[in-house]
């Protein structure tokens, strides 16, 4: 099956065509945004980290920033640093350059302050954006697509209707040679035995189970019980009682395909070994989506029972609900109603096809409601202290 998009230097294909203004740290986020605001087609991300982080937190932030820049929905990158931050612009630049796409960098300290940095950044961004805009769309095979699977503000209809619908669409993409990513380690607790059984590779299975154990151990070691926050008050009001019940509904997004491998948060998904992957992430939606986009997902399908508006800076996010009441209540935000399975008796395979058709249209350029409303939420998974 063919879809259309933008061919990048490394042979990957994007379905959107952004110039990314990438702040190396929180200290340059505001300046990066002001540069992006000056240029049509440019977008920045509100990086809240990038300094005084160590260990896994440092690696998570670097992987996320580099991953966003390398995502094929981005045509070129301007890195904006302060100059003295923990994540140096040259570290980011070297890693982003591997993709072959144009990447340049400035620092506020070197330019001599905000006004000069904005002037220089805008000048560079203008030149980069002109080239990005010249890119013509080409046809490519849908096997080049990476789909991120998300659910948030879940209720019992998520497990009954919207997540199984996503599972049908994900299975179809995987059967056509593409890739999907399931994330949210917290929200596999209680369903991990079912997911683990679907890993063909023993080492990958063990790594997956270790990721789940790490979340449980981290929660226990902190003296808190993660169940104080999971399920959320809204999940409970909707009718979900325990983390197990929530997880057993969440996992339906991954359909019935076997799992090919596991990814660290924001780790680049292998291009030579496609299929269904699990990525380690928190259950918090924005951090989870951000990680999957950093891993290479060009598109996200996001199911919600309670209703949620959120999007992503560089990837279209399709909203689907299994709750017809929620669909009608938040029709500004939700693209597709899988509640028809419950209220109108629409079959799951038919609903899956309807979602897949919408995915193809969105890949080909149709904006999602989150895109049309300008929702560009971004957040990097943070594990420990910032020093």
């Amino acid at each position: 099956m063919k879809i259309s998009g933008y061919k990048r230097e490394n042979g990957r294909y994007g379905i959107r065509n952004y110039l990314l203004i990438l702040p190396a740290s929180v200290c340059s986020s505001d300046t990066a945004k002001r540069i992006a605001d000056n240029i049509d087609g440019a977008i920045s991300i509100p990086n809240q980290h990038g300094c005084c982080q160590i260990g896994d937190d440092y690696l998570n932030t670097v992987r996320t920033l580099v991953g966003f820049a390398k995502n094929p929905n981005v045509g070129a990158v301007l890195i904006v640093g302060l100059g003295c931050e923990g994540i140096q612009t040259n570290v980011l630049k070297e890693q982003i350059k591997e993709s072959g796409k144009p990447v340049e960098a400035i620092t506020i300290q070197q330019e001599g302050g905000t006004i000069k940095a904005i002037a220089k950044g805008t000048e560079i961004a203008s030149r980069l954006a002109a080239n990005v805009r010249k890119q013509q769309k080409v046809e490519f095979d849908i096997s080049e697509l990476v789909l991120g699977l998300e659910c948030g503000g879940s209720d019992p209809t998520s497990g009954l209707a919207s997540n199984p619908t996503i599972g049908v669409a994900s299975d179809k993409l995987v059967s056509l040679g593409g890739s999907s990513i399931l994330s949210e380690t917290t929200e596999v607790i209680g369903a991990e035995h079912l997911i683990a059984a679907r890993f063909e590779d023993v080492k990958a299975r063990e790594k997956f189970l270790q990721m789940v154990k790490n979340v449980e151990a981290h929660s226990a070691a902190s003296g808190n019980d993660l169940r104080e926050g999971q399920p959320t008050p809204g999940n409970k009001e909707g009718g979900l009682t325990t983390i197990e019940e929530k997880s057993l509904g969440c996992m339906h997004k991954a359909g019935s395909s076997p799992f090919t491998g596991v990814l660290e948060y924001g780790e680049e998904i292998p291009h030579d070994k496609k299929g269904l992957y699990f990525m380690d992430s928190p259950g918090q939606d924005i951090d989870s989506i951000t990680g999957m986009v950093a891993s290479g997902a060009q598109i996200i399908v996001f199911s919600t029972g309670r209703g949620t508006p959120t999007g992503s800076p560089i990837a279209p996010v399709i909203k689907i609900t299994g709750n017809t009441g929620t669909y009608n209540n938040m029709i500004d935000n939700i693209d597709i109603n899988a509640g028809k399975i419950i209220t109108e008796g629409v079959s799951l395979p038919d609903m899956g096809e309807e979602l897949f058709d919408l995915m193809v249209r969105v890949c080909n350029g149709e904006p999602t409601k989150a895109e049309a409303l300008g929702h560009r939420e971004f957040g990097i998974y943070k594990i420990g202290y910032t020093y």
């Binding site: 019992p156 209680g190 369903a191 929660s219 009718g239 009682t241 983390i243 197990e244 057993l248 209220t343």
Partner: protein
């Protein structure tokens, strides 16, 4: 549309597809069960007695254990069902 959905034959909890009033009768696999308590849409009802500590099933899987004795027909939620996971 059915009133309740039993996802798996192993399940001792069913999901209400509409709000159900206390005293209403629901039918599960031919058996009539009188509902004890108002149950909001998409919330759960026990279809058999589950003693305190007993395992509660949905999707044919463990979703927790009874924190008090649950009677057939009871509304089941955070007041009588808790996670069965032991993280220690």
């Amino acid at each position: 549309m059915e009133t309740v959905l039993r996802i798996d034959p192993k399940d001792n909890l069913v999901t209400c597809l509409r709000a159900v009033k206390s005293g209403e009768e629901i039918t599960v696999d031919g058996e009539k069960i009188k509902v004890r308590g108002d149950v909001p849409q998409f919330h759960k009802i026990a279809i058999e007695d589950i003693p305190k500590g007993g395992i509660c099933y949905k999707y044919g899987q463990v979703i927790g254990k009874a924190s008090v004795d649950i009677k057939k027909g009871d509304y089941v939620h955070v007041h009588n069902l808790v996670s069965a996971k032991d993280f220690n």
